[in-house]
């Protein structure tokens, strides 16, 4: 059964529909749009208050941007430093070139543990490498412990946001999922009852399953430590109860010094969820005898990050600390939520990250999924100039597509080529205006407006009229006015 037939979101860029088509079922789903817009507005209002109370907000952003860029420019040496310090403290570091290798390493580690089940701290990187379905196919059940991830896992849904993955689901939908999957017929949609149900469900997993997988918000090169921030404490449980912990992290997650957390932690929670400090910040270093997991592995994932790093303009993509603020600020995301992006990384950051992770072979419509309004850049804690990268990726897509035979008569490509010719000579521009007036005149009604156009123009007139050509251009008026001296001018 195809995804188009079921309207089920597909978060695999290789299979996902182009963005303009993927949004259609969402735009016809008022409930989902209301859920998204409401959740976004709540977060945005909280964030605005907390950003306001920091007089040094812009300085913090500049500091974070500088730290992240410095790290990326020296990534190799910081990663080696991290590996050495983590290893010295009893951790085992593995390097994975791509998603397949990361999955294989993790599966081997789990097989060594004889694990048939594993508990997980929320990690987008594991979603990036599609770890859960892979483990399931290999006979290992992975249980999410983050509340939102539980909702999605039990409801067989997909994440639509990197920080608040179930933001598209409302309370009564959560009740339905929990009642059905936990066998709780009398469950109400009271938040307290819902969290209690999740707590009971989780407690059994925590007490029973001795193996855990986490992501990482930060890797500290100087100490070999790992940092995870979260709201609910489920991560803390995964970090204390199990015997074995496997952490999966993208290579870009490293920070040079422990001290750098001072900047990052001030920005991250404020920008992500509108909290002064996230409720749980866990930092751990290797293995501590008698305390926490006694076997500790870190899998460092490249998966195209090196090739992004190598590109001057796009390198800044890797400064991202996954706060999700660009999604919350994005007027496109606010209308359509995350699923239409066809990737575990939606929104503005997803629109630049996903196509690059796919080496521009897939997700080629994502760089165009933006009105270039710049709200994402303004919200970004590490000052990633997302509009600039979007433009650069658009140029890459255009350079690929314009060579394709199938695009020769594509109205957008043809139109822009002709427009370029026209704009290169004033007389051609003026001739085009002259003929354009006749052309558009055919479609102009008696009221002087165009209500319906063919081809690309029809995309405009689906919801908007267009005023017909005026009888005189500005330059025509100026010429007719003559080079008469301006009497009042000094």
């Amino acid at each position: 059964m195809s995804h188009a037939a079921t309207n089920q979101p597909v978060l695999d860029p290789k299979l996902a529909l182009p963005f303009p088509q993927a949004v259609l079922p969402v735009l016809r789903n008022p409930q989902l749009r209301k859920n998204v817009a409401h959740a976004i507005d709540v977060i945005q209002a909280k964030r605005a208050r907390l950003v306001e109370e920091k007089p040094d907000w812009q300085e913090l952003r500049s500091a974070a941007a500088a730290i992240r860029m410095h790290t990326l420019e020296n990534l190799g040496s910081y990663l080696e430093q991290f590996e050495a310090n983590c290893t010295a403290r009893g951790g085992i570091v593995h390097w994975a070139a791509d998603a397949e290798e990361a999955r294989r390493i993790i599966l081997e580690l789990l097989r060594e543990e004889n694990a048939s089940e594993v508990i997980k701290i929320k990690t987008m990187t594991s979603a990036e490498i599609q770890l859960n379905p892979f483990l399931q196919a290999s006979g290992i059940n992975a249980y999410e412990t983050d509340l939102a991830e539980i909702i999605l896992q039990l409801g067989e849904g997909e994440p639509s946001h990197i920080v608040v993955p179930a933001l598209h689901v409302n309370r009564s939908q959560v009740r339905e999922i929990f009642a059905r999957r936990m066998g709780l017929k009398d469950l109400s949609d009271d938040p307290k009852e819902l969290t209690n149900a999740a707590r009971n469900y989780l407690r059994q997993k925590f007490l029973k399953i001795p193996t855990a997988i986490s992501g990482a918000n930060f890797l500290i090169a100087e100490t070999g430590s790992i940092g995870v921030v979260e709201s609910e404490g489920n991560g803390r449980m995964c970090l204390t109860l199990p015997r074995t912990m496997i952490t999966l992290a993208g290579v870009e997650k490293v920070l040079p010094r422990f001290q750098d957390l001072e900047v990052m932690l001030q920005l991250l929670a404020r920008n992500a969820t509108g909290e002064r400090m996230n409720p749980y910040t866990s930092l751990w270093t290797g293995v501590t005898p008698g305390d926490g997991p006694q076997r500790f592995h870190v899998v460092l994932l490249d998966n195209e990050r090196s090739s992004i790093l190598a590109r001057n303009k796009e390198r800044q993509t890797l400064k991202c600390i996954r706060c999700g603020a660009c999604m919350n600020a994005c007027p496109v995301y606010r209308q359509v939520g995350g699923h239409a992006y066809g990737s575990v990384y939606p929104g503005p950051i997803g629109s630049i990250l996903t196509p690059q992770l796919m080496q521009m072979h897939y997700a080629k419509t994502l760089p165009y999924a933006s009105s270039l309004c710049g709200a994402c850049y303004e919200a970004c804690p590490t000052k990633i100039n997302i509009p600039e990268v979007l433009l650069d990726l658009r140029a890459q897509v255009t350079n690929i597509e314009r060579k394709q035979f199938s695009r020769v008569l594509d109205p957008m490509y043809l139109g822009l080529r002709i427009a370029n010719l026209i704009f290169s000579r004033a007389w051609m521009f003026h001739a085009a205006q002259f003929f354009g007036r006749f052309g558009l005149g055919i479609f102009t009604r008696k009221d002087g407006w165009v209500h319906s156009l063919p081809s690309v123009g029809g995309e405009w007139t689906q919801t908007r009229d267009l005023r017909g050509f005026p009888s005189q251009t500005f330059h025509g008026w100026w010429a007719a006015r003559g080079a008469k001296p301006n009497k009042e001018a000094k």
């Binding site: 606010r334 009105s371 290169s424």
Partner: protein, 250 residues
């Protein structure tokens, strides 16, 4: 003071009344205007759609045409934003050091209309009269691209007879985004609906702004929906006087 008017391709073609208003406004303020007949487009449409090479040739044209101008005035924050933000990158990308330097010298003399009036002429009260209820839509490029700040409000606040009604969610995009409005026509329309809810709820007679592009987008939907509101470029309000009222009101 002399200034050269870059009217922009779509104002020249579709909104000549905005250009005429700029001329009458600036001449009233004592500016000696020139208009270079060879001007066409700043290249934004091409740059934003991924046609870098084509955008580069428009950018080159702009620099060649205006490098000797005392001031360049542009009644579009979006085109100014393209010129200021993207030209240096384009010239660097194409490895054209000569153009990059020529542009660096020209760039400080390129003004959006309200910048020119406030920063260069030092005027806030332009002597306009516009007896209507008006709401102001700040285009994204005016806010986050060239940071116009409160300049448009300082000018509009001095217009006699006019009631300026604040627009909620001023920083939210109307969904135009150039070719975005046709490449992602449905999402663009959804964004427009949300924006129009705010705009129409102001009860204003006119929605104004620094860019005819956003106004074409919102005005096109207002016309489609038989809404009781029209759009009008900020320049036309500022040019309007008791003796010669804005063309849109006639």
């Amino acid at each position: 003071m002399r200034a050269s008017l870059f009217i922009t391709c779509y104002n020249d073609t579709l909104y000549p009344e905005t250009g005429r208003a700029v001329v009458s406004l600036l001449e009233r303020l004592g500016v000696e205007l020139e208009f270079h007949p060879k001007q066409t487009c700043c290249g934004q449409m091409h740059a934003n759609t991924g046609f870098r090479g084509e955008a580069f040739s428009q950018a080159k044209r702009f620099v060649r045409l205006y490098q000797d101008a005392e001031n360049v005035v542009i009644p579009s924050s979006s085109c100014v934003s393209m010129i200021r933000e993207q030209y240096p990158r384009l010239f660097e990308e194409m490895g054209n050091e000569e153009l990059r330097q020529q542009f660096a010298a020209l760039s400080p003399r390129v003004y959006e209309l309200s910048e020119f009036i406030i920063d260069r002429l030092g005027v806030e009260d332009v002597g306009a009269y516009f007896p209507h209820r008006v709401t102001y839509h700040a285009s994204c490029h005016s806010l986050r691209g060239i940071h116009l700040g409160d300049r448009p409000f300082r000018l509009l606040g001095k217009v006699r007879g006019m009631k300026l009604i604040p627009l909620p969610h001023l920083d939210r995009c109307c969904g135009f985004g150039g070719t975005f409005s046709v490449k992602n026509g449905e999402v663009s329309s959804a964004m427009l609906t949300v924006k129009l809810q705010d705009v129409l709820a102001t009860g204003a007679e006119y929605c104004t702004g620094p860019d005819n592009s956003c106004l074409m987008h919102m005005g096109g939907a207002m016309h489609r929906l038989y809404a009781d509101m029209k759009t009008i470029h900020m320049a036309e309000i500022l040019a309007s006087t008791q003796e010669s009222p804005a063309e849109a009101t006639l």
